[in-house]
């Protein structure tokens, strides 16, 4: 197969950091090419260099038969390179068709030809077997459908290379499958897809080749059929991965948290009851939309429950707001750390003490000395990688951001910590560190509840798994019975 895109010895520096150094990437026509590496390895920078959002310092880009200089995202799009970012770039308040043809509305004497636009858009969706009405408003679509719209948009401008940045991170298993169908269809049309993902399983399912980056450098590329998962991981982290899920051996004690008949009026949570013990990691698995996050949000007092009780150490408590939950030593690490967990424009130190401001007071006033000591302590404890505690949260990598979120709950002495998708968007190396922190927490007598859509992860870290399906607890699986098969059966509603 002939090449469509060749990047040779690309270098890019930011003041003080060499983000890319001599990176090569070759994409062939009609292949699905995985780009992997830990967070901070340079994947995003490389993508932004291809798209023209960044200007490369050195190196050359060859595309579709000639050397090119990419100066702006607009230009790269016109050439035939489309990028689908994790945070989709659609306009919510207008229709699907308008989004597909945005900036290129079919005109006749200066007026938009709406009929033609809807028809053309619909034809594209039909071609790909997608059941999306081109007249619908984008905001009424699910995350997965929105992604399809982005892909169709790329197709409609005759993209020859489509780059997808973590496309499956918010998709359910089923949605991922349909995404893969589309990718295969693109492939058969001769479109090359660059697939960026942290989920190695998916890479082995859908990709033909892989390029690995580490610390801004090109490590190598391989055919997927010539490489094992462990080999790929060692290429990414530069060492052998001993064991992804660290062992723990702490005792599990009495019931600490008990939830009885929790209901939100039939919206997403129906009569959910469970108990979690001291020193236990209780996993919650289910498909996206099964009601796991919603359950946790009610327990933490963010959303209103219609009925049901929460008991802590046997006593019923009223948790009407996060404030109440925090008073009862519950901590909640949300799945969306950028919007719900962090103050991105604030420093690590400000973030660390936010939940427990009262602990750094001296004579009623905030003590900057205490704040510094505390945040330095947690940076050290959790091995957060940062030049200083004054670094703004937005400049940290995903894993380090998660550690900052964690430190605020650790500093506030939470005894029950709920993790919603604890390792989403976090690279392999940092994941293990997060798992180790979870182990340390339960080792110290905390209770940990983990919600995850990553089956391997939930099996790897839980002592017990509850599987939710359409708002109900569909099944409970004890450690000795852990199997992907059984859990998946419960998740899709086919449990015994």
């Amino acid at each position: 197969m002939e090449d469509i895109l060749r990047l040779t010895k690309i270098c890019k520096s930011f003041p003080g950091v060499k983000a890319l150094s001599d990176v090569n990437l070759t994409i062939k026509k009609g292949e699905v090419h995985a780009l992997v590496g830990e967070n901070g390895a340079g994947k995003s920078t490389l993508m932004k260099t291809i798209s023209g959002a960044y200007k490369k310092d050195e190196g050359s880009i060859w595309f579709d038969g000639r050397d090119v200089e990419v100066t702006s995202p607009k230009q790269s799009e016109l050439m035939g390179i489309s990028i689908i970012y994790q945070e989709l770039n659609l306009i919510e308040r207008i229709s699907v068709a308008e989004n597909v043809f945005i900036g290129r509305y079919p005109l006749k004497s200066g007026f938009v030809q709406w009929g033609k636009m809807y028809k053309d858009a619909q034809a594209l969706f039909d071609e790909f077997d997608l059941k999306i009405d081109a007249r619908r408003l984008v905001r009424s679509l699910t995350m997965a459908q929105k992604q399809m719209v982005e892909i169709i948009k790329a197709v409609s401008i005759n993209a020859k290379v489509i780059i997808m940045d973590e496309p499956t991170s918010s998709l359910s298993t089923k949605e991922t499958e349909s995404l893969f169908k589309i990718i295969n269809k693109l492939k058969s049309n001769g479109v090359a897809v660059v697939f960026i993902s942290h989920r190695l399983d998916e890479i082995f399912t859908i990709c033909d080749r892989v390029t690995v980056l580490r610390d801004g450098c090109y490590v190598g590329d391989r055919d997927i059929s010539d490489i094992t998962k462990n080999e790929m991981i060692s290429m990414m982290i530069g060492r052998e991965l001993t064991q992804q899920y660290p062992e723990r051996s702490n005792a599990i004690g009495d019931v600490v948290l008990e939830v009885k008949n929790l209901t939100d009026g039939g919206k997403s949570v129906n009569d959910v009851s469970f108990a979690a013990r001291k020193g236990e990691v209780l996993g919650f698995y289910g498909l996206v939309g099964a009601g796991r996050t919603e359950t946790m949000r009610m327990i933490f007092g963010i959303d209103k429950k219609i009925s049901g009780k929460v008991l802590l150490n046997g006593t019923e408590v009223t948790l009407k707001s996060p404030r109440d939950a925090i008073k009862h030593s519950i901590g909640f690490i949300t799945e969306n750390r950028r919007d719900e967990g962090l103050f991105l424009r604030s420093s690590i130190r400000v973030n660390t003490v936010m939940v427990a401001l009262h602990k750094i007071l001296k004579h009623g006033f905030i003590s900057y000395k205490k704040e510094k000591e505390v945040s330095e302590e947690y940076v050290k404890k959790l091995r957060t990688v940062t030049p200083s505690i004054n670094q703004k949260a937005m400049f940290l990598s995903g894993g380090n951001q998660q550690k900052v979120v964690l430190s605020k709950w650790l500093f506030s002495d939470s005894e029950i910590i709920i993790f919603d998708e604890p390792t989403r968007g976090i690279d392999v190396g940092a994941r293990r560190e997060i798992y180790q922190i979870i182990n340390d927490l339960v080792g110290n007598g905390c209770t940990v509840v983990v919600v995850s859509s990553d089956l391997e992860e939930i099996i790897g870290i839980s002592d017990r798994i509850l599987v939710m399906h359409e708002g109900n607890i569909a099944g409970e699986v004890l450690k000795e019975d852990f199997s992907q098969n059984l859990i998946t059966k419960y998740a899709v509603g086919e449990g015994a």
């Binding site: 003041p15 996060p322 404030r323 424009r345 936010m354 401001l357």
Partner: protein, 320 residues
Amino acid sequence: MKSNNLKNISAKIADKLGAWLLIILIAAIMLFTSDKFLTTTNMINVFRQIAVVSIGAIGVSFVILGGGFDLSTGMIATFAGCNTALFMKNFGWNMYFAMIVAILIGIAIGTVNGLLITYLKIPPFICTLGMQYVINGLVFVTTKSVPITGLPEKFLKIGRGYIFGFFPVPVLIMFLFVIVGHIVLKYTVFGRSVVAIGENETAAKLSGLNLNLIKVAMYSLSGFCVSAAGIVLAARLSSGQPNSGADLSLQAIAAVYIGGTFKGSIVNTLAGALVWGFMNNALNLMNVNAYWQKVALGVVIIGAVLFDTFRAKLASKSID
């Protein structure tokens, strides 16, 4: 590489100095243009002129930092000034008592703003716009649109007096507000919470902050500061003037934006007010006609914020 370093350093300096850089710029130009500029009298004059706005702007800073907005401040200030005058003149109240009651009324109005905005979810811009008209009306009702004059000499000292024979009382009050405001913002849980809410309301809520209470409190605080400003203004004008504070709302907001208070310090608000004051002063000394002065001031507001965005961009680039 060297030019990069130089760029970095200058970006850092620009970032640290912020609005002070503008003040230095104006001062530098004026040093060569007018020999009256850098005199003690002139300097004190500028501070005296910005005192009222600065006192009010301290309160407004909290509202804006907390992600809110307050358009009603000018009228709350006018109301407080007129009320104090009325209480002393018509009711024969003791000056301190009159001031305290007037300020309490101002706090109450701010609190109502806060309650409407938090509990009834009225957008701050609309809510305080409406409140501005309500209070404006009340001012005319209570004063019958006639200035209240003949206020006691002791009261006028607040606006016109000097201590040690040269230091204006309103400037002293202004510094007091700046210092206390600075401490409240930097060293109290309330101050920290305001900034947190302004930056990310959801994260603030999930971190256990009492959103509604803090939001209401910041509008109350705004009511307090602008009422104090209104009283100083009345003392300076020797009368409760029903038309006096109309411009104050926007001037206070301008001070917050010009100063770049978003960078986390109340002192920046003072800098913002000073830019305004020096600009005015410079144009006066250069004999620029008053109408053109308005044009120039407007340009400064837009320019300052533009400069701020540019500066922030530069700074974030150097860290990136």
